[in-house]
């Protein structure tokens, strides 16, 4: 025993132990320590004991076979299983998927009327549909609305091609299909597409509705409100005053090109029971007459109750107990106005019809 003898660890021993250790990589740290813990001392001592002319490497021998011997004697598999934990996972997943598919096919085949053929015929429709879902998701990520521009149409076309090729098992995109991980990804994407289908359909519907509304609004903006309006609100009456601020009645209004400036004769307004014309209900403006034909461009227009049942003007209003009357002016008198040159250009404006 040379417990006390100084042991020199040579580089060859370190290299040898490292090589052996490399072949124990599948063991736990504890198992490995147990096996090589005393190995450097043991091998160094063996080298020191050896007094032949052979080089150290030859005395130590082949680390690979040494590792095999060590593993076998210690009760482990002779050789480290290469990547034993990775392959089986993929294999197991693949087998599980195959089994699930077989079970599904068997289940479907039990239903009478060969529904499998029917479902398989529907597959292409699903390939296109899932491409559309993906397209909608992309749109959703890009902006809050749905665009039907050329660029997006191109994206949709590419997605459809990719999805169909994947479904048919053709092209570069389908080359990954055999791998368990790729199969899981495809299954996950399909499930996701199914889940996202309802919200995307909903989004498409809303976006279409929005578009219709937008169109309506833009049409509405271009379209003028019928009759007389001010600040975007239709008017039912006007109250003219002359330059001295006195109320005027029977004032006819025309545009520069001679068209009558009339109120929208279909308008009625909730009556404030002003002038006691109507206690509650709707009041209507009644036209002035010109040779028997109604004029709605003469102000102020008389106001009276309508036919409550028919929701229209009462044709016999003027002979009713409460005939239409000229409404009260907002002010008894308006401020006096003058032109910069001192007076009204038209002098005879004082000729006000009596109220």
């Amino acid at each position: 025993m040379n417990d006390t003898m100084k042991l020199e660890v040579r580089g060859e021993v370190d290299a040898f132990v490292a090589e052996v250790e490399r072949r124990l990589a599948d063991l736990t740290a504890e198992e490995r320590d147990e096996l090589v813990g005393g190995l450097r001392a043991d091998l160094s001592e063996r080298l020191a004991d050896h007094d032949g002319p052979e080089p150290a490497e030859q005395v130590l021998g082949d680390p690979a076979s040494y590792a095999v011997e060590l593993r076998t004697a210690a009760g482990f598999a002779p050789v480290m299983a290469p990547r034993r934990e990775r392959r089986p996972v993929a294999l197991v997943v693949g087998e599980l998927l195959d089994a699930a598919r077989r079970t599904w096919v068997e289940l479907v085949d039990k239903v009478p009327g060969s529904p499998r053929g029917f479902l398989e015929s529907l597959q292409p429709a699903w390939w296109v549909l899932r491409a559309w879902v993906a397209w909608m998701v992309l749109q959703d990520m890009a902006h809050p609305y749905v665009s039907y521009g050329v660029g997006w149409a191109l994206v949709l076309a590419l997605l459809v091609v990719g999805s169909v090729q994947l479904g048919r098992g053709r092209g570069a995109i389908a080359r990954v299909r055999g791998h368990a991980a790729a199969r899981l990804v495809v299954i996950g994407l399909n499930v996701l597409a199914v889940c996202l289908l309802p919200p995307m359909v909903d989004k498409a519907r809303w976006s279409t509705a929005d578009q219709v509304l937008d169109d309506m609004y833009s049409e509405g903006a271009g379209e003028e409100l019928p009759g007389l309006s001010y600040d975007g609100v239709q008017l039912t009456n006007l109250f003219p005053y002359d330059a001295q601020g006195r109320p005027l009645t029977g004032v006819q209004l025309f545009t520069a090109d001679g068209r009558a400036v009339s109120v929208d004769d279909s308008l009625a307004e909730e009556d404030g029971s002003e002038d006691g014309i109507e206690e509650d209900g709707m009041s209507w403006v009644y036209p002035w007459l010109s040779n028997g034909s109604p004029r709605f461009n003469v102000f102020p227009l008389p106001v009276g109750p309508g036919d409550a049942d028919l929701w229209e003007r009462d044709p016999d209003a003027w002979s009713s107990p409460t005939p239409p009357r000229l409404p009260a002016f907002p002010f008894a008198a308006a401020p006096e106005v003058v032109l910069p040159d001192g007076g009204p250009a038209v002098e005879d404006s004082a000729d006000v019809p009596a109220r």
Binding site: L7, A41, L43, L70, T72, A74
Partner: protein, 110 residues
């Protein structure tokens, strides 16, 4: 005759026997086996066997640090190891006696 195959069957027994009286480290155990006449035993087999017996609870192990070199890992026998040694010794004695008897009978006839 190649004694390697024979050794494999009795290496546990031989190693237990070697450390029964005195604790030893790997190379020490190997040297004792060789000086006892088991010259064909490979060192990796001995070290692996020590580890397996330790894992099975037949041996204890402890490290003796050294200032001047790599530390040494010593193995000692446990009560469980002694039981195993006793059982296997008996088995071996029966077995070897039977084989010896068989062989001596053949020798006598020859």
């Amino acid at each position: 005759m190649d004694t390697t195959q024979l050794l494999k069957g009795v290496l546990d027994l031989a190693v237990l026997a070697v450390v029964e009286d005195e604790d030893g480290y790997g190379y020490d155990v190997l040297r004792r086996l060789r000086s006892a006449g088991l010259g064909d035993v490979g060192d990796a087999s001995v070290y692996g066997t020590l580890r397996r017996l330790y894992a099975a609870g037949a041996l204890t192990s402890y490290v003796v640090p050294s200032d001047e070199g790599p530390h040494r890992k010593y193995y000692g026998i446990t009560p469980g190891g002694r039981d195993q040694l006793k059982r296997q010794s008996e088995d071996w004695l029966h077995f070897s006696a039977a084989v010896t008897t068989l062989l001596s009978g053949q020798e006598a006839r020859a």
